[in-house]
């Protein structure tokens, strides 16, 4: 395998990754950013100066900690360790193309379309607005008020 073939495949993969949708809310780690960080050096692109290496702001960190009530220490350490340990990986053009193909399958919504579950599960009989409310809250379309929250606690939905 020539190294140019590997690099070109990686460039394609990076292009696909850049189209990968951003997460709606911030998590400790981001799939898109971590993979960009992983494949950009192979594609011969520089990683510095991009948003992927930007440090989280204080408010980001506070936000994440506030959302998680469990003993976070251990898991956070572990995640950091996982992120920092840069594995020595041997790529061939073929393996990178495979990655790209799978990523494209995921991004084209192949399985959601093929295994369509219909409104039976998307608007479940027991709680038809469940997913809509969840998504509206994530996207900030509607805010849960004190009374809607109380209703959920008392009636369960």
């Amino acid at each position: 395998m020539s190294s140019t073939a590997v690099r070109e495949a990686a460039v394609q993969l990076v292009k696909t990754l850049q189209k990968f949708p951003q997460e709606r809310i911030k998590h400790l780690v981001s799939f898109r950013d971590s993979q960009l960080e992983r494949f950009k050096p192979i594609a011969g692109l520089e990683t510095t100066g991009t948003d992927s290496t930007k440090k989280p702001t204080l408010s980001d960190i506070k936000d994440i900690i506030n959302r998680t009530s469990g003993p976070l220490g251990l898991q956070k350490d572990l995640l950091k360790k996982v992120q920092e340990a840069l594995p020595q990986e041997q790529f061939t053009a073929q393996t990178i193309e495979e990655q790209n193909k799978s990523l494209n399958n995921i991004m084209s919504n192949k399985y959601k379309t093929y295994y369509d579950v219909g409104n039976k599960l998307y608007e479940p009989q027991g709680n038809p607005l469940y997913y809509k409310r969840l998504l509206d809250e994530i996207e900030g379309k509607t805010k849960e008020t004190f009374f809607t929250a109380l209703r959920t606690v008392v009636f369960g939905k």
Binding site: T68, P71, L74, A85, Q99, P124, Q125, G126, K157
Partner: protein, 336 residues
């Protein structure tokens, strides 16, 4: 192991939906050939898909790797004789039970949440990723630990279990609210009481305080995972893949995207099977996860109609039967 739970009917649905290349199911009257025509794109099970990948990267070695190596293993469900396979309830106890149900007019759909969701469905979820060090893996566990290269730890087992429980939660939400909520509650209760026992007896945790800390941690992991999977389920495959990557794969950097795709396929296909089950069948525990080495083909409208008709006939006959035992009664719909 659990075969005796699933009735001989063995979920007509499951058998018609999941055709494997190893076992062609003739019982349902279909052959794989018919189904293969429905599908133009490649036909591969999640396992085949995952195995196809040429990427050789090994996952990072976790330094706090704690293998599951108990001195004495716990039974799959509990020490109670009522949950053991061999136990037969004496006839007089059975008759007494039926009488109590009839006299107090107990709502069996509510009562059934314990034995079905708390016992049968929990055992299903638990088995999927169950592994012990120095012991051969089960077929499904091989998919998770060998093909997907997940670490063989207790917390990884928990993540696999949570994923399967969430798949069931999605279906439980589509039941009438009162019953669905109860099923969910029983499943979660059982999960944590079992984990607590496993921590003490199999992971050799001696301190109650430390066990509590683990349980709290598992609880927040459960809530986070259910939330993330819900978001992914409702929005798109990319979000679902992100959620699976963060939870099941522990957010590791050298992920094999082919493996991630295999998991998205696995999850969506299980949900598809569940979407075709009626409330009644699901509530009676007629569901089994499709093993990762089997392919779920979509049903054609005519196949679906045949299947629905068979289900409706079966349960109509059951409801009409005057000799039906009080404990077998159910008001849940078998038509949806």
């Amino acid at each position: 192991m659990l075969r005796s739970f699933t009735h001989s009917h063995a979920s007509l649905l499951n058998s018609t939906l999941s055709f494997s290349r190893r076992t062609i199911i003739f019982r349902a009257g279909y052959t794989t050939g018919i189904n293969k025509d429905n599908v133009k794109n490649e036909l591969e099970s999640p396992e085949e898909l995952a195995r196809k990948s040429q990427l050789t990267s090994q996952p990072i070695d976790y330094s706090n790797n704690a293998p599951v190596n108990p001195k004495k293993k716990r039974p799959l469900l509990s020490d109670s004789k009522y949950e053991s396979q061999a136990y037969q309830l004496p006839k007089w106890k059975e008759a007494l039970g039926e009488m109590v149900i009839r006299i107090f007019n107990l709502d069996m759909d509510k009562v059934r949440a314990g034995p079905i969701a708390g016992s049968y469905y929990y055992a299903l979820c638990k088995e999927q990723g169950l592994q012990f060090e120095n012991e051969p893996l089960s077929e499904t566990a091989k998919f998770f630990y060998e093909d997907l290269k997940l670490p063989r730890t207790f917390s990884q087992w928990f993540q696999i279990t949570v994923l399967h429980e969430w798949i069931l939660f999605v279906r439980m939400r589509a039941m009438p609210f009162k019953y669905g909520k109860n099923y969910q509650q029983k499943l979660v209760d059982r999960t944590f009481s079992d984990i607590e026992l496993r921590l003490f007896e199999e992971m050799n945790v001696n301190s109650g305080r430390i066990a509590d800390q683990y349980l709290k941690d598992f609880n927040s992991q459960l809530r986070g995972a259910v939330f993330a999977y819900d978001e992914g389920f409702y929005t798109d495959d990319a979000t679902l893949a992100g959620a699976i990557w963060r939870n099941l794969f522990g957010g590791r950097k050298n992920i094999d995207v082919v493996h991630l795709e295999a998991m998205v396929r696995y999850v969506r296909s299980q949900l598809y099977v569940l979407s075709k089950l009626s409330d009644r069948e699901f509530a009676l525990g007629k569901f089994k996860f499709v093993p990762p080495d089997e392919v779920v083909y979509k049903l054609s409208p005519s196949q679906e109609a045949v299947m629905k008709k068979a289900v409706i006939e079966k349960y109509e006959a059951m409801d009409r039967n005057p000799d039906i035992l009080p404990s077998e009664k159910s008001k849940l719909s078998y038509k949806n």
